[in-house]
């Protein structure tokens, strides 16, 4: 019984390591191949939320390395990844990084700016919280 449980945990760890490595590959591939910062953010977010979190799951399943610390690490990764992506996208938009092949820009219409405009306007009312 005990050896069966160990085998199941080892298979789970194996699958988690392979899946995490594949997610890391997808993220880095997207970082190289995608055309602009906004699409690259979409790819790089996968690495922290899926790639690293699956590796931590493997660490817990295989060696039960600090279950509490691993849980804190997974929660931190899942909260921090999207927050960082949001902050970087906001910074990119406000510093005027252009979009490639943008179909629409709702924020520009709302703020009366042309599509993919230049540097941030000096109008203080246009400030968005980061």
């Amino acid at each position: 019984m005990d050896s069966t449980l160990k085998l199941v945990l080892q298979v789970i760890a194996l699958l988690a390591i392979v899946a995490g490595s594949l997610f890391s590959l997808i993220g880095v591939l997207g970082l190289i191949r995608l055309p602009d910062v906004y699409t690259r953010l979409h790819a790089a977010g996968k690495v922290s939320v899926f790639g690293a979190a699956l590796l931590v799951v493997a660490a817990v399943a295989l060696e039960s390395l600090g279950l509490g610390k691993a849980l804190v690490l997974i929660v931190l990764l899942i909260i921090a990844g999207p927050a960082v992506s949001h902050a970087l996208a906001s910074a990119a938009y406000r510093t005027g990084v252009p979009m490639q092949r943008a179909a629409r820009d709702d924020l520009a219409e709302q703020r009366g700016r042309p599509l993919s405009s230049g540097p941030r306007s000096a109008d203080p009312s246009s400030d968005l919280p980061v």
Binding site: L7, Q10, A13, L14, I17, V18, G20, S21, S24, L25, G27, V28, L31, I32, V37, R40, L41, A44, V47, S48, G51, A52, L55, V56, A58, A59, L62, E63, L65, G66, K69, A70, V72, L73, L76, L77, A80, A83, V84, A87, L88, S90, A91, A92, R94, T95, V97, R120, V130
Partner: protein, 91 residues
């Protein structure tokens, strides 16, 4: 089974180290400041992956602590730098 796992862990270590090199190259020839900052964030996440894999390989709890610290510090650092880029001030 243990042999297979060890081989997979070492392969994943080499794999993530190679991806780390690619991400560093991306930081070196980024197009804008935000692009480079995104690369730095990805580098820190890949370092975290490497630390977790080293913890798996050696079976030592210590490396998970280091991974936790790296995650917390890179999160705060990237948020502060993104705000600095957008606002030209941090607070």
């Amino acid at each position: 089974m243990d042999d297979i796992l060890n081989i997979v862990i070492v392969a994943a270590l080499i794999w993530h180290a190679a991806l780390l090199g690619v991400a560093l190259w991306r930081v070196a020839r980024g197009e804008s400041a935000v692009d480079r900052l995104l690369g730095v964030e990805l580098v820190s996440v890949l370092i975290l992956c490497l630390l977790v894999l080293i913890a798996l390989f050696t079976g030592q709890d210590l490396y998970m602590d280091v991974a936790l610290i790296v995650a917390a510090l890179s999160f705060i650092g990237t948020l502060a730098l993104a705000r600095y880029l957008a606002d030209q001030r941090m607070f």
